[in-house]
Amino acid sequence: MKFRPLLLPALGALGLSLALFDPALAQDAAAAAPTVNKGDTSWMLVSTILVILMTIPGLALFYGGLVRTKNMLSVLMQVFAVFSLVSILWAFYGYSLAFTSGGEGIGAFIGGFSKAFLAGVTTDSTADTFTKGVAIPEFTFIAFQLTFACITPALIVGAFAERIKFSAVMLFTGLWLTFVYLPIAHMVWFSEGYLFSLGALDFAGGTVVHINSGVAGLIGALLIGKRIGYGRDLLAPHSLTLTFVGACLLWVGWFGFNAGSNLEATGGAALALINTILAPAAAGLAWMTVEAMSKGKASLLGIASGAVAGLVAITPAAGLSGPMGSIVLGLVAGAVCYFAVTGVKNALGYDDALDVFGIHGVGGIIGAIGTGIVAAPSLGGYGVGEYSIGGQVWTQFIAVIITLVWTGIGSVVLYKITDLIVGLRVTQDQEREGLDLADHGERAYNY
């Protein structure tokens, strides 16, 4: 197996199957134990840490800056607590339900409990990558996937920020992870999963993370209702400086999210990385331009929101689109999300406080469908096999619909259960006082 390290860089992103080049070599590799490469392992450890950085403090600060002073700590707290809770649940049963076989039939939708409490996983266990015969340590894979499970429910808190009960966030997160996130992750990413089998492409979690959280956020905003004073009082962000810091941390952390999803330190990771630079850059500029043309001024919050929309949109296509395709995807996402956030939300009148649906839901759908187009080899993409744009877009569409329905129905039920057990919303007095004092007994800034 000494030749493998030499071959890997040469095969690059398209080294999905050695069989394309040399059938004998492939059989040889399949027979042998998978190779664990220190370079791959290092990259995946770094990526894991980057995704944690993206969540705490990145997402927390991005959201925190957008709420009013009196609710700053509640948002930071919710993101931090969600991250901590999901980490534990992931080790207890999350990883097992998402990434083990659930057996005949039900296995298309959910895994089993064979690795509950990480049973049987040792430092010698490995998880497969996209290259036959190349693996990474299973603990690395578990930790990397843990960070995805953590950020997804953390994204939702933006939708019902400034009025949700803290206990409701915690209960809903546990339920939602179990009954919505884990099945979707299993369906999309595990080899026996239903959407995986359909051939739906989701490189780094456009459906699993973004559509999923965006729709759950929208439903939360609808069920919990508008903030007091919405549409009447000044509900302006208390610190766009912190929102800027958070947006930048999100962008940097997203390199771990997208390029890490390649699972190997190869040209494929480099492709995902450059796409993760170009798409948000294009989307930020698109948002900024449309905003300047319709409102007269280009705002910092606008370009930052656009960049996040671009990051969301490129997520499912990160390792599949060519660089030019990612720019197009970014431009579309930036412009469409602008209208979703400024026009559609106001027209429909729901209070998605921090635009989880407008950016993650809408951007996620654009990315998921768009992946079917930009992955086409004829357009400079890296889709494999006999690629049909129409066929792939249809498959992507089906995957989006299934995700929408699953997370839509699941979220409604889980919000209702949460409401029955602890109640979703704080009292009016508490909301006026601010969640920092009402729920946490402290305030963010003591001048």
Partner: protein, 112 residues
């Protein structure tokens, strides 16, 4: 004795202070305030949500002076704080019954 209270544009504070110091006024209280007069506010837009901000940030200065100094103080503030644009602010004068310097117990004009 009189209290001269003026609401001025924030960036005019240093000029007003210098003008008052030149008159021999050696004490001044400054408060950050918000309010509106004839000057219109502005619009802030956050992700398409437009807010009309009609209360503008101003500084309120308060100075206690001997009655015979009042007109000079008013003139000094007027000259220093004026830009000629709408929103330059206003000056209000009220009577002051008593003043005490806490450290020494001096009263009235001696305390100013």
């Amino acid at each position: 004795m009189k209290i001269v209270m003026a609401v001025i544009k924030p960036f005019k504070l240093e000029e007003v202070r210098d003008a008052l110091t030149a008159l021999g006024v050696h004490g001044l209280t400054v408060t950050e305030v918000k309010g509106y007069g004839r000057q219109k506010g502005h619009t802030e837009i956050y992700r398409g949500a437009e807010y009309a901000v009609s209360f503008l940030p101003k500084l309120k200065i308060e100075v206690a002076v001997a009655s015979e100094l009042v007109n000079q103080v008013i003139d000094a503030i007027t000259a220093a704080a004026r830009t000629g644009q709408i929103g330059d602010g206003k000056i209000f004068v009220t009577s002051l019954e008593k003043a005490v310097r806490i450290r020494t117990g001096e009263t009235d004009v001696d305390a100013l």
